[in-house]
Amino acid sequence: MNKKASFSLLLGIAFVALLLAVMLTSLFYTPYDANEMNIAERLQAPSAKHWLGTDNFGRDVLSRIMVGAQTAFLVGLLSAVIGLVFGFIIGTAAGYTGKWLDELLMRGIDGLLAFPGILLALLLVSIFKPSMSQTILAIGVLSIPSFARVVRSGVLQQKEAEYVKAAKGLGAGHLHLIFKQILPNMISPILTTAALSFSAAILIEAALSYLGLGVQPPDPSWGRMLNEAQSFIRKAPWFTLAPGLFIMVTVLGFNLLSDGIRDLRDTRQ
């Protein structure tokens, strides 16, 4: 496919690459220790010394944003993987076998969808102790329905395709049909969904952490930083701005990326 990559795809890649670079850099270098407090320098405005200023404990905001990116990516990636794996299994089982199993699974998925996402996440993390892994699990469960639906519709469409019937007629087994014939033709919707669910996961994580139910201190999280910053919004607006901006750029980046992938693989044009 030699179609020109769309503007949104390029912008999406640029944003995601930037964040990836920030996240990877933070693994071995941050300007300051992200958790080092320095009361003497609390709530400083951005300066050459602290590019994004300092927070109410005098911690360097840039360093915390950088380390927070790790949390965001970890949550996004793992929850997307959870959603993908279970969504794929459920979607394939429903679409491929059809009949009552399809009804059963999809009504279950509908039920999960009908529940407001953030409420379900709140429920899950409040049953267990709030922590990073609970957050990931909750968000992962939340993203199962979208994957399951995308996979199911893809399977339904593909399974009636002539080449699938031809392969069946030549002796191919179910696993071969699913993984070798059907799956390769569903990669693009799955990737699109994955990118979307990645950004949704980061947003939900931020929301949960903002409510104090997500990632627990001292792990830095963008949502948590927003929560801490809101009391100082008049005194130190940069403190709120920084995590907010990063959340926005990340979500925007992944959404653009998802759009771009879809456009790129769209054969209708």
């Binding site: 059809g98 080449y163 019937k165 031809a166 007629g169 030549l170 191919a172 070798k180 390769p184 990669i187």
Partner: protein, 334 residues
């Protein structure tokens, strides 16, 4: 000679609702000998494709074999095998070539991946060995530059090439029976001739039996030893190719042959059989299924369904017009 494929009184029903079902194929008997080419002709909707699919257990989910038997090589009851067991015959013993080569290859996979899979699946070959065999196979079916072809995707190839590839895949494991469901319908005439030549060559080299489904009587006449004419889920006439073309007995067959355009008939309006194939539910009535469209129907045709009557050795038709000439033809299959 023992038939390779023996279909006896096959009845296939479509489950309409939970309680109601209608017959799609009804009392259908057909046999195909080793190395023999049998043509199946008939209008759209007469059950040709479903027949070929049901041999491999690939009929749509709502359809079920409710009567009759399908025997392969006299030992394997295809009508009675579990899905798991029938899979072993697909591709290795009985292979199928579908109508539209544009959609029967997977555009998401390279040609190589789809061909070598057959060797790996049925013959248990290694990757390298499978690739070698695929290249040899491509040469055999007349595909140029086979090595490069393996790395290409189906959408990069022409219809003729794709159908050659489909045929290559189908014959890769030397099946005893090749079912070709309108293999040339989607191709233009020159390519059509090439594909038919290829099939003939395969039949002669490997002694493969071919079941050729088509509504193109020219193709059938060209390729087949025997012909079965289907109408509304039944075989209404069956016989050697010469007998059918020169002495058709069933009014439907006669009509079919008359409707072939020919240069000599240039000025005339093309003949067509009036009416359409009866719907599935309308076939339940007592009489001959063709009677409402038949120019020669008499009262009797509407009240009682005709059995197969023998016309000459190996030639039989399901029509009361033959009743006086011959007795009931039980032994026509031989």
């Amino acid at each position: 000679m023992n038939p390779l494929l023996d279909i006896r009184e096959l009845r296939l029903e479509l489950q309409r609702t939970r309680k109601e079902s209608v017959a799609v194929l009804d009392g259908l008997s057909l046999s195909v000998g080793k190395g023999e080419t049998v043509g199946i002709v008939g209008e759209s909707g007469c059950g040709k494709s479903v027949l070929s699919l049901s041999i491999l257990g690939l009929q749509p989910n709502a359809m079920r074999i409710t009567g009759g038997e399908i025997w392969y090589k006299e030992e394997y009851p295809l009508h009675d095998l579990k899905p798991r067991d029938i899979r072993r015959y697909r591709g290795s013993e009985i292979a199928m070539v579908f109508q539209d080569p544009m959609s029967s290859l997977n555009n998401g996979l390279t040609v190589g991946a789809q061909v070598t899979e057959m060797f790996r699946l049925h013959a248990g070959c290694s990757r390298a060995e499978a690739k070698e065999r695929a290249i040899a196979l491509f040469r055999k079916v007349g595909l140029a530059r086979p090595e490069a072809l393996l790395k290409e995707y189906p959408y990069q190839l022409s219809g003729g090439m794709r159908q050659r590839i489909m045929i290559a895949i189908a014959i890769s494991c030397n099946p005893g029976l090749l079912i070709a469901d309108e293999p040339t319908t989607a191709l233009d005439v020159t390519i059509q001739a090439q594909i038919l030549d290829l099939m003939r060559q395969i039949r002669d080299e490997n002694d493969t039996a071919i079941m050729l489904i088509s509504h193109d009587l020219g193709v059938i006449a060209d390729m087949c030893d025997r012909i079965a004419v289907m109408y509304a889920g039944q075989i209404i006439e069956e016989g050697p190719v010469d007998a059918i073309f020169e002495e058709p007995r069933h009014p439907y067959t006669i009509g079919l042959l008359q409707s072939i355009p020919a240069p000599s008939k240039k000025q005339e309006k093309l003949f067509s059989i009036p009416g359409t194939v009866p719907g599935l539910a309308e076939r339940q009535s007592l009489g001959c299924r063709f009677a409402p469209r038949c120019g020669m129907a008499v009262k009797h045709c509407y009240t009682e369904a005709p059995p197969l009557f023998g016309a000459s050795p190996g030639h039989a038709a399901r029509c009361w017009l033959l009743a006086e000439r011959g007795g009931q033809a039980d032994a026509i299959v031989s």
